[in-house]
Symmetry: C2
Subunit: 162 residues, 2 copies
């Protein structure tokens, strides 16, 4: 499945890297950029905007996914390719699985990111811990109504499954 | 660290569960709700809005985090507690680590969510695979300029580290 890139892929990746530089120069956020392409056409671009927008979820990939979905008027990135200047963090990787593009290209690695202070590896490690053992404590509350929304969803006849 | 909940916590969780039901009834998205509290006061509420907004990242937790950060004018949820009607998916868990609330309470489990068709477990498994082995292929492109944005960031004197 993991075929090599071609010259088109390299061109789109160069744009993702350029966006990362634009973002740093604009004080928008960290040094990350992303481009989403469908049928050879760019449908969304983004750089990290965490600082500019006070939004910790405004990573380049999440922002590009949101924009591409607005362009397509769909919550799924069917047949799309995501180019990101750096290997996605767990949040962005999760977003990628929910959006379901067909392929992802990345340039820098998680280790490269950690070297300039973006320690995604820490989050990857936390994900593998039991909830109560994580550095942010995560506590289960028993509530007898907790399953009611799930039952409502399960029995809903006009729901759009995603 | 994982102390038990008190009556206040139960009240906020009941609201998160109520939001989940409101969201299903409004056809906004899946059966999930979240509340963020600071110093005993609700500063943000959300239910899942994936379908309503065509945004695959608009899970209850991500949406509540974004709103709370707008309220606080900060990309960090210092001293905040997040109440979510269901154990967070990898995307939301990543968002939680970037936003850094002090604690998270959840009601339903990942298994409960999987039983009604929201298979976060699949994503958790994919995260542990090597990039090339994932169901969405993730391919490394070597680009000689890839490290330039990181260098720019690293050498930037007026940067705000986050």
């Amino acid at each position: 499945m993991a075929e090599k890139e071609d010259s088109q892929d390299k061109k789109f990746m160069a744009r993702a890297i350029a966006l990362a530089q634009i973002g740093v120069n604009a004080n928008a956020g960290g040094p990350f950029g992303a481009v989403i392409v469908k049928n050879g056409v760019v449908i969304a671009e983004a750089h990290n905007e965490v600082l500019q927008t006070n939004d910790p979820t405004a990573h380049a990939e999440v922002t590009a996914i949101r924009r591409a979905c607005q362009t397509l008027k769909s919550f799924q990135l069917d047949d799309c390719i995501l180019y990101t200047s750096c290997e996605p963090c767990p949040m962005c990787l999760g977003a990628i699985y929910w959006a379901r593009p067909k392929k992802v290209f990345f340039a820098c690695s998680k280790k490269d990111a950690a070297a300039v202070g973006f320690d995604d590896d820490f989050i990857y490690q936390e994900l593998d811990l039991e909830t109560a053992d994580r550095s942010i404590p995560m506590v289960h509350i028993h509530d007898e109504d907790a399953m009611k929304p799930f039952k409502l969803w399960d029995e809903k006849e006009d729901k759009k499954v995603y």
